[in-house]
C-alpha cells in the first residue's frame, strides 16, 4: 500500500466507526450548501442589490459553514474536538501527506460547489437582465475565499 492509500483506508474506517456522527455532519453541510447556493442566485449588479448586502453575507456564511461541516470529520474527532493529527502523533503517517489528502477533499468539494454557485448566479443575473462580468467574478472570489478558509481550518499541524 502507498502512504496515500493508507490514509484513504484510515478515512474509510473512520467513516465506519463514526458513521452516525459523520452522517449528521453530512446533513448539516448539505443543508448549508443548498441554502448558500440558493441565496447566491441573487445577482450582483441587480437593481437594489446595495440593499441586499445582508443576503450576500448570508450566502458567504452558509457556504463557509458548509465547508467546515464538510471537512470537520477529517480534521477533528467529532466527539471531543481533539485534532486527529494529535492522535496520530506517534503513528507512522506522513502528516504533510495527511493534510494534502484533506486539501484534496476540500478542493473536490469546492469545485462542485463552485460550479453550482456559478450556474445559480448566471441564472439569477440572466433572469434579472443585469448580467455583467461581476457575475462571473463573484462566484470565483467566493470559492477562493472558501478555499482559504478551508486551508486555515486544515492547518499546518
Amino acid at each position: 500500500m502507498t502512504d496515500q492509500e493508507r490514509i484513504l483506508a484510515f478515512d474509510r474506517e473512520l467513516a465506519v466507526v463514526s458513521e452516525e456522527k459523520i452522517l449528521s455532519y453530512k446533513i448539516l453541510y448539505i443543508i448549508s450548501s443548498i441554502l448558500g447556493c440558493f441565496i447566491s442566485v441573487f445577482p450582483i449588479g441587480a437593481e437594489g442589490s446595495e440593499n441586499m448586502k445582508v443576503i450576500y453575507v448570508l450566502a458567504w456564511m452558509f457556504l463557509g459553514m458548509a465547508v467546515m461541516f464538510r471537512i470537520q470529520p477529517y480534521i477533528y474527532m467529532i466527539e471531543n474536538s481533539v485534532r486527529i493529527s494529535t492522535v496520530l502523533v506517534y503513528i507512522p503517517v506522513d502528516k504533510a501527506l495527511l493534510r494534502r489528502v484533506r486539501r484534496g477533499y476540500l478542493r473536490r468539494y469546492l469545485i462542485k460547489l463552485g460550479i453550482v454557485v456559478l450556474i445559480f448566479q448566471q441564472i439569477g443575473a440572466l433572469i434579472d437582465g443585469c448580467w455583467s462580468v461581476w457575475n462571473l467574478i463573484y462566484p470565483v472570489a467566493l470559492i477562493c475565499f472558501l478555499y482559504l478558509e478551508g486551508l486555515a481550518y486544515i492547518g499546518k499541524k
Binding site: 483506508a9 474527532m77 496520530l88
Partner: protein
C-alpha cells in the same frame, strides 16, 4: 546497536538537554531515571516526534531517525499514560483505525497479546470497552498489545510503572522480559524511581537538569 544517541541537545522551556550520548543494544532494557523536570520525557519525545527538535544524532537500526521518521516509526512504540489514541472508541476500533498505517500488522498477535496480558488474575483485555473507560493498567496493557501487534522493535516507556501496585509491576516486567526474549526488541524506559532500574534494567542512566550524569550497566557502582 538498535538506538544510538550522540550529542543530542535541545532547548526547552526552563532547561536544556545537553550532549546526551548513549546506546540501546538489541534485546536489552535500558532505563533512565531522574527527578521530575530532568528531561526524561523530553528525550523520549525527541525520538518519537516527527519534527526534529534537537541537534545531534539519533540513529535507529543504523539509520538517521529523522531522515526516515515515518518509516522507522513502524518499529517504535511510545507507551505512556498520555499517549493519544481515539479514547471514545474501543480498543478493537482503535486497532481497526490505525492498523492500515503499519506495514506489518498482525491481528492474531494483537488478540493473543490482549488475551495473554492477564496482569490482574483471570481477566483478558477488554477490547470492546471505550479506551476512556479503561483503568490506567488496562490502558497500558492495550498500548502494549497494540505495540506487539505491529512488531515493535523499540518500546519507549514513559514513567509507566509509577503508581503501579507490586503485583501489577511484577507482571508488567515479566511481560517486558518476555518481549525482550521473544521479539528481538529493546526497551527504553524512564522512571523517577532509581531503585527500580537497579533491579530491573540491564543498563541504567541518570538524567539531571538535562544532562546524562551517569550511564552504566545496572548494578555497577556509580
Amino acid at each position: 546497536m538498535l538506538l544510538e544517541l550522540k550529542d543530542v541537545c535541545g532547548a526547552e522551556k526552563g532547561f536544556c538537554l545537553q550532549n546526551i550520548t548513549f546506546e540501546v543494544p538489541e534485546g536489552y532494557l535500558v532505563g533512565l531515571a531522574g527527578k521530575n523536570g530532568a528531561g526524561k520525557t523530553t528525550l523520549l519525545h525527541y525520538i518519537a516526534d516527527e519534527k526534529k527538535r534537537y541537534t545531534g544524532s539519533i540513529r535507529f537500526s543504523g539509520e538517521e531517525l529523522h531522515a526516515s521518521h515515518t518509516k522507522l516509526m513502524n518499529k517504535i512504540a511510545f507507551v505512556a499514560d498520555e499517549t493519544p489514541f481515539f479514547k471514545m472508541y474501543t480498543g478493537r476500533q482503535n486497532a481497526q483505525l490505525l492498523a492500515p498505517f503499519y506495514e506489518e500488522w498482525d491481528w492474531e498477535l494483537f488478540y493473543q497479546a490482549a488475551e495473554e496480558q492477564s496482569m490482574s488474575a483471570g481477566s483478558g483485555l477488554k477490547l470492546d470497552r471505550p479506551l476512556a473507560k479503561l483503568s490506567r493498567g488496562e490502558y497500558l496493557r492495550f498500548q502494549m498489545a497494540f505495540a506487539i501487534a505491529h512488531h515493535t522493535r523499540l518500546y519507549l516507556l514513559d514513567e509507566v510503572t509509577g503508581g503501579m501496585d507490586p503485583v501489577f509491576r511484577r507482571e508488567f516486567f515479566r511481560l517486558i522480559h518476555r518481549i525482550l526474549e521473544k521479539e528481538d526488541a529493546s526497551v527504553l524506559m524512564t522512571t523517577h524511581i532509581q531503585e527500580e532500574l537497579e533491579e530491573k534494567a540491564d543498563y541504567a542512566g541518570i538524567l539531571e537538569e538535562g544532562r546524562l550524569i551517569s550511564f552504566r550497566e545496572a548494578g555497577q557502582p556509580l
